[in-house]
């Protein structure tokens, strides 16, 4: 099998996570924000799998499965919220939904 040093896998996870974060902070459209979140979750999962693979243990994969489950749950609720926001504000701009300001 491959013999790539572990840290390169982790670096890939870090880069993906940072990109997701950038997207999250930059985009105003809710759909894009959710997508960025997916990227970040996926990157986190990647880091787990890399670590698990390094020791040849299944635990990393198992945590990835949990992350996957969570991502699915999050996306389903998130998208439902997107629909609600769109209905209520007639826009996908998250800044429009800033009613909880102090």
């Amino acid at each position: 099998m491959a013999s790539v040093p572990m840290h390169q896998g982790l670096l890939l996870a870090g880069i993906l996570f940072a990109l997701g974060l950038t997207g999250l902070l930059v985009r105003r459209n809710v759909v894009f924000i959710l997508m960025s979140l997916e990227i970040m979750l996926n990157a986190a999962g990647l880091a787990f799998v890399v670590a698990g693979s390094r020791w040849g243990q299944p635990d990393g994969q198992i945590v990835f499965i949990f992350i996957l489950t969570m991502a699915a749950a999050e996306v389903s609720v998130g998208l439902a919220l997107v629909l609600q926001i769109y209905r209520r504000f007639k826009t996908l701009d998250v800044d429009a939904a800033s009613e909880m300001r102090g």
Partner: protein
């Protein structure tokens, strides 16, 4: 017989309860029935006890009746118990009998007042407290009575509560006496701490056992008790409340502020005489206080225009004599003067009450005059009491009692010639202000017409007291005038005999002659200034120095002025400034700081998700950085 002693305070207490609870519903006739009747019963019991005490004295000349144990904690075991000996029997007798006469007088005097029943309730409570004070066998019970009489004094001075001035006078009286009481409580703590009991006889016994003469503890305890006595008996420097206390109804002044309560200090010192014997410096302080007070109050009395204030200063001055006597160890002389003083001073106040009532509540003696013809009975009784006060030689009680004190001041081992001289000057002053009062009020032309004449219930007590003011003195006379010693002998059942010192060329007859001389000089001066040449009296106060002195004495040597500035105003100032409580500012400050922070932080609460996300991200990145690089 002696076991009935508990009835003496019990009757007035019961009557107080009846009057306090049902007072407003009782008829005008029923109120004095309770109010006066209860005191009459007490007086009867005390007379019986006195009689029994004289005919068949109890073993050891004292008797204790224990009702119940008040408190029993860690060796502190005061009881509700009454102690009878010559001292307490005598004083109780005087208090109840004079009290009865004054109550009888009040039954008519206060008849028209809306607070008729309230008045009697307070008066009865007073008699009960006073008897408790006198009879209590321990200092704590004495203190109960002590505070009780103070309370009644407060209530009665402020009896006509609608006038705020009365309220102020009452408040002053209560607070000033409580200053003394604070010292007294400290004294009680000290005594208990060192001697382990407050039961008076035990205490004295223990003191003798544990303390040598001049022991600092004894001095401290005696001085602290003196503090209490000074407050209650209106002696220097706490005398300022008594003249103001004249705002109360006149019978109150007669009973509380002349005959009985103000002599509680005398009783206290006499009661704890062993303690004072162990502390000669404290005892000397008693004498000095007495002498200074009698002179200062005498001067103040000279200038007062208000009839009751004259009598008040006179009371202060006469109690000064008693303190002087206590201070030189002439215990029985002090008590003798207490008794005669109770008679004539009560009578003077009652007489003043008659005058004031008949002249539309006029207090100023210079608006009175010529009452000799208008109120003859009042005049003669007042004259009898006045002569007794001034010490008219040979026939009045005052002469004998005061003469005895003055002679003892010279002859006692603890006496001194300076004190003797002060006492003789005091006689002159007494004579002067007494006859000034009598001449101005009863002689000359009528200035205010008499509108009301006193009835029987007011005059009978006056007459009885007038008789007592005269004959009371024959209980104890100097050797050259019969040498009766019945009073002194009786007192010696409870109090030690005075130790004589070197006479130093003075004899008792000489001393009495000086007293007589001083009396005559005072009488003549009063006659000269207030009957013969009234205008001279005014001329005396015309020049600046005379006016200033007059003003100074009128204001009681400026003591009120001083206290007002040193104590009263600072406290009021602090209380007013700190009304909102400085300490709260600390907590308000914390609250304000929190709110300030909140106002800052709430700005970050924009409601924008991305902003929050950025915050979370930045926060975690910084946190990781901290972990990594620090």
């Amino acid at each position: 017989m002696f076991h009935l002693v508990w009835l003496i305070p019990a009757f007035p207490i019961a009557s107080f309860l009846v009057l306090a609870i049902f007072g407003t519903r009782l008829s005008k006739k029923a109120v004095p029935l309770f109010g006066v009747g209860s005191i009459a019963l007490s007086a009867v019991v005390s007379i019986l006890i006195m009689f029994r005490f004289l005919t068949s004295p109890p073993p050891g000349n004292h008797y204790t009746q224990i009702l119940w144990t008040w408190v029993d904690v860690g060796g502190f075991k005061p009881q509700i118990a009454f102690y009878l000996d010559a001292l307490s029997v005598l004083m109780t007798l005087v208090v109840t009998c004079v009290g009865f006469l004054i109550h009888l007088y009040s039954a008519e005097f206060m008849q028209e007042d809306e607070g008729y029943s309230r008045f009697f309730a307070y008066m009865n409570l007073f008699v009960a407290s006073m008897c408790t004070l006198l009879l209590g066998n321990n200092l704590l019970l004495l203190f109960l009575g002590w505070e009780g009489v103070g309370l009644c004094s407060y209530l009665l001075i402020g009896f006509w509560y609608r006038d705020p001035a009365n309220g102020l006078a009452a408040r002053k009286a209560f607070i000033v006496t409580r200053v003394g009481d604070t010292a007294m409580t400290m004294g009680l703590f000290l005594l208990f701490d060192k001697l382990g009991t407050l039961q008076i006889q035990d205490l004295m016994h223990q003191a003798l056992l544990h303390w040598a003469v001049g022991s600092p503890y004894a001095v401290a305890a005696a001085l602290l008790l003196l503090g209490g006595a000074v407050g209650k008996s209106a002696q220097l420097p706490l005398q300022t409340w008594l003249p103001d206390a004249m705002a109360g109804p006149t019978p109150t002044s007669a009973l509380i502020h002349a005959a009985t309560m103000v002599t509680a200090g005398v009783y206290l010192i006499a009661r704890t005489h062993i303690l004072f014997s162990l502390a000669p410096s404290a005892q000397f302080a008693v004498a000095v206080v007495g002498a200074a007070t009698l002179i200062l109050a005498g001067f103040s009395a000279l200038t007062q225009p208000d009839i009751k204030r004259i009598l008040a200063y006179s009371t202060i001055s006469q109690i000064g004599y008693m303190f002087l006597a206590l201070g030189v160890g002439a215990w029985s002389a002090a008590l003798f003067h207490f008794m005669t003083h109770a008679f004539f001073k009560a009578l003077l106040f009652l007489g003043a009450g008659v005058i004031i009532e008949s002249l539309h509540h006029e207090h100023n003696i210079f608006k009175m005059g010529g009452l000799r013809k208008e109120l003859p009975l009042a005049f003669w009784t007042f004259l009898a009491a006045g002569c007794s006060l001034a010490g008219l030689p040979l026939i009045t009680a005052g002469f004998y009692s005061k003469g005895l004190i003055i002679w003892d001041t010279w002859s006692s081992a603890q006496g001194s010639h300076v004190l003797w001289f002060a006492a003789v000057i005091g006689v002159l002053l007494t004579s002067l202000y007494t006859f000034r009062l009598i001449f101005v009020v009863f002689f000359g032309e009528v200035k205010t017409p008499v509108h009301k004449r006193p009835g029987l219930r007011m005059m009978v007590p006056c007459v009885i007291l007038a008789v007592l003011s005269v004959v009371g003195g024959f209980l104890d006379t100097p050797p050259f005038l019969g040498g009766v010693h019945s009073f002194t002998d009786f007192m010696h059942l409870a109090l030690p005999v005075m130790t004589e010192g070197p006479a130093g060329g003075m004899t008792e007859i000489l001393s009495e002659s000086f007293v007589t001389l001083a009396f005559l000089v005072g009488l003549y001066l009063a006659y000269f200034f207030y009957v013969q040449k009234r205008e001279y009296a005014e001329k005396l106060t015309a020049p600046a120095i005379g006016k200033a002195l007059h003003q100074f004495w009128l204001s009681d040597w400026g003591m009120d002025w001083l206290y007002e500035r040193v104590f009263v105003r600072p406290i009021i100032w602090i209380a007013r400034v700190d009304k909102q409580d400085f300490v709260d500012n600390i907590y308000s400050g914390m609250a304000l700081l929190t709110e300030f922070c909140y106002r800052g932080v709430r700005k970050t609460e924009t409601g924008r998700i991305r902003w929050y996300a950025a915050g979370i991200a930045a926060g975690s990145i910084i946190f990781v950085a901290i972990v990594l690089f620090l």
